[in-house]
């Protein structure tokens, strides 16, 4: 109570000043309460490190055949055994994770940017609202997987001719997952923009002559950030699942290029003789998706001001 004179509003406040709380620290405080989300974050970090550092540290080349050592069970030398060409399954699972995670993140970015743009346009400009929302409804009626399969098969050759085998498929898969998944984000963002547009701070900004673009970037986008974050985390999960589904059907990345779905596809015919080879990549996909879903759940709670004020 020494610096009372310096803070006039603290005169009838209780003994000590409340500690300073920023939005970020509040969100983090609430997020930490969600045990599942923290567990998910830790596990996901471990998976990320393993996937991006593992193949560098491991002594085996995931692409190199070593036929004398084929179909080995798990040993200390080969933690998950070897496959029918003698390649170390552990290295292959880790290498495969790189692609799956990269596709997940790239497709998420694409769909979030597209969804947010369309949502903001529809919410902010009245004239665009009707047509854009009809478009969203049409896209919601298109069954994703059949369309995905169709596009991948039809455009595989021209795209791989232009960008090279692996990059071409990567771009194609990311593009098509993004283009069939932006609708939820667009709907949420549009709803929020419609509400925020009527707020007084937007009116204030407009009355001092702020341009439409500046209102959107300075005043509207920061306010829709939290629902977009949640949608983004769930988008990673669904993109990983979709990419693996595509590879699982044998229509994703080329045969010699491991991704989690591809490893599952290769292993499914050996299910009676080597069931463990199905379990490893499947467990990795599931663990990754489960972590991301839990993080999304935690973020949703943490970013909801109603829940946060209770804490």
């Amino acid at each position: 109570m020494t610096d009372l004179a310096n803070s006039p509003e603290a005169i009838d406040a209780p003994d000590e000043l409340p500690e300073h709380r920023s939005l970020r620290s509040d969100v983090w405080r609430q997020f930490r309460r969600h045990r599942g989300a923290i567990l998910g974050l830790v596990l996901l970090t471990i998976i990320f490190l393993a996937v991006f550092l593992g193949p560098i540290l491991l002594p085996y080349d995931p692409f190199e055949n070593n036929v004398p050592d084929r179909n080995l069970g798990p040993t200390w030398k080969h933690l998950m055994g070897t496959d029918n060409l003698g390649r170390d399954v552990f290295s292959r699972v880790l290498t495969g994770g790189r692609v799956s995670i990269a596709v997940g993140i790239a497709a998420m970015l694409f769909q979030v940017i597209l969804g947010t743009t369309i949502g903001v346009l529809a919410g902010f400009f009245k004239r665009l609202d009707g047509p854009l929302m009809r478009l969203t409804d049409v896209f919601l009626s298109i069954p994703q997987l059949p369309l995905l399969l169709l596009v991948v098969v039809l455009f595989r050759e021209p795209v791989t001719d232009r960008f090279g085998q692996n990059l071409g498929i990567f771009l194609l898969v990311v593009f098509i997952i993004g283009i069939t998944n932006w609708m939820q984000t667009a709907r949420i963002v549009r709803g929020d923009v419609l509400a925020i547009k009527e707020e007084e701070f937007v009116l204030a900004a407009r009355s001092i002559g702020t341009s439409g673009l500046r209102i959107v970037t300075r005043h509207i986008l920061p306010n829709v950030l939290s629902p977009v974050t949640v949608a983004a985390s769930l988008g990673v999960a669904s993109a990983i699942i979709t990419e693996s589904a595509l590879s699982f059907l044998g229509l994703g990345f080329p045969a010699d290029f491991p991704t989690w779905g591809r490893l599952l596809f290769d292993a499914k015919d050996l299910i009676t003789s080597q069931p463990a080879r199905v379990i490893w990549p499947g467990a990795m996909i599931s663990a990754c998706v489960l972590c991301v879903t839990f993080i999304g759940d935690g973020l949703r709670d943490a970013l909801d001001p109603k829940l946060r004020s209770k804490g």
Partner: protein, 339 residues
């Protein structure tokens, strides 16, 4: 109510037309020769005549309009005729959408494959919904209880585990290790309703695929039902119902349940595209020769009309389910009808 349903149907038809246009557009953009399956020994000018005869050289819009005529006019008439065994005009010579690989009408093959898909898909959706609604409501009513926590975890699992992994896992455990159920679905099995052993075989081969789809469907629905019931439990009308002395079961089953189901019905419609994808994967895992498997084989064979028809057909299913959901929505919530 009738007017409301009519109004919703008016939206459904243009949606289908736009979807068919998008599908056509994608196929038109794609490079690829429809006569590439013709042997190389066939001379180029014959090849060109074949293209001409099948109308591949027509302008894009004309091809699309022709396809629309086949899909929206000829095929429904044909379906009506084969159901009622009647014949209007030249029913034998009427043009139909022909598959490139089987050279027979694409929709006939689809009708053959449809029952298998609908069995698995329908039972999975039905059981999923039947399980999800009580689980979601009880979880919300007893929030943070053991039941709620276990339920939340299981639904998270079901939501996150892809069907192609749970399916393979089920095969490893229940077919390979325990040998309880067959690992693939035998479509040639002819169910005799008079013989129990025949029905039992059918049930045994349906158990695994249906359970997998049920888990997948129940998880997302249960999560949503829980959230929606939680919203409703804190409303004033629940307090009013309690304070006027209604029994707790009546408050939950009549007041809360009915209001919580309104958004769930919409979600049910929104998950249908996902379930169709799930069915494709489930069919691949359990080797059920339904629509999904037909789609995969047609894609591998480059059978464009078949792929187009199946994709359009699944879009049609989605739109129909959306309409049903809209109708239910209007039925459950009178405010919607008069909007």
């Amino acid at each position: 109510m009738l007017r409301y349903i009519m109004r919703r149907s008016m939206v459904a038809v243009p949606t289908l037309i736009v979807i068919s246009f998008i599908l056509f557009f994608i196929l038109d953009l794609a490079p690829g020769d429809p006569t590439s399956n013709v042997p190389l020994t066939v001379p180029a000018e014959v090849r060109e005549r074949m293209r001409e005869a099948q109308g591949f050289n027509d302008p894009f819009l004309l091809q699309w309009l022709k396809w629309c005529r086949l899909m929206f006019i000829n095929e429904p008439i044909n379906l009506f005729e084969s159901i009622t065994s009647t014949c209007f005009g030249e029913c034998e010579a009427r043009d139909r959408i022909i598959s490139w690989s089987s050279r027979s009408p694409a929709l006939d093959t689809i009708y053959e494959r449809l029952p298998q898909t609908l069995w698995v898909l329908g039972l999975g959706t039905l059981f999923g919904t039947l399980i999800a609604i009580p689980v979601g409501i009880i979880s919300a009513y007893k929030q943070y209880s053991v039941f709620d926590n276990v339920g939340t975890f299981v639904t998270m699992l079901g939501f996150s585990l892809p069907v192609y992994f749970t399916g393979l896992l089920a095969i490893v455990v229940f077919s390979v290790k325990l040998d309880w159920f067959p690992s693939f679905y035998d479509t040639t099995h002819d169910v005799q309703l008079t013989s129990w052993s025949s029905i039992w075989i059918q049930i045994k081969q349906l158990i695994m695929p249906v359970t997998i789809l049920t888990l997948f469907q129940a998880s997302s629905l249960a999560r949503f039902t829980r959230a929606s019931a939680l919203d409703n439990l804190n409303q004033e009308y629940v307090r009013t119902a309690r304070s006027k002395g209604l029994s707790e079961s009546k408050v939950i089953n009549v007041h809360v349940m009915r209001n919580s189901l309104i958004p769930v019905v919409t979600l049910l419609a929104l998950t249908i595209p996902g379930i169709i994808g799930g069915a494709i994967l489930t069919e691949t895992v359990f080797r059920i020769n339904g629509i999904g498997q037909l789609l995969i084989t047609s894609i591998r064979n480059g059978d464009v009309p078949m792929v187009q028809t199946i994709t359009f057909f699944s879009a049609f299913l989605v739109v129909v389910f959306n309409l049903i959901a809209d109708a239910l929505y209007g039925l459950l919530d009178p405010r919607i009808r008069y909007d």
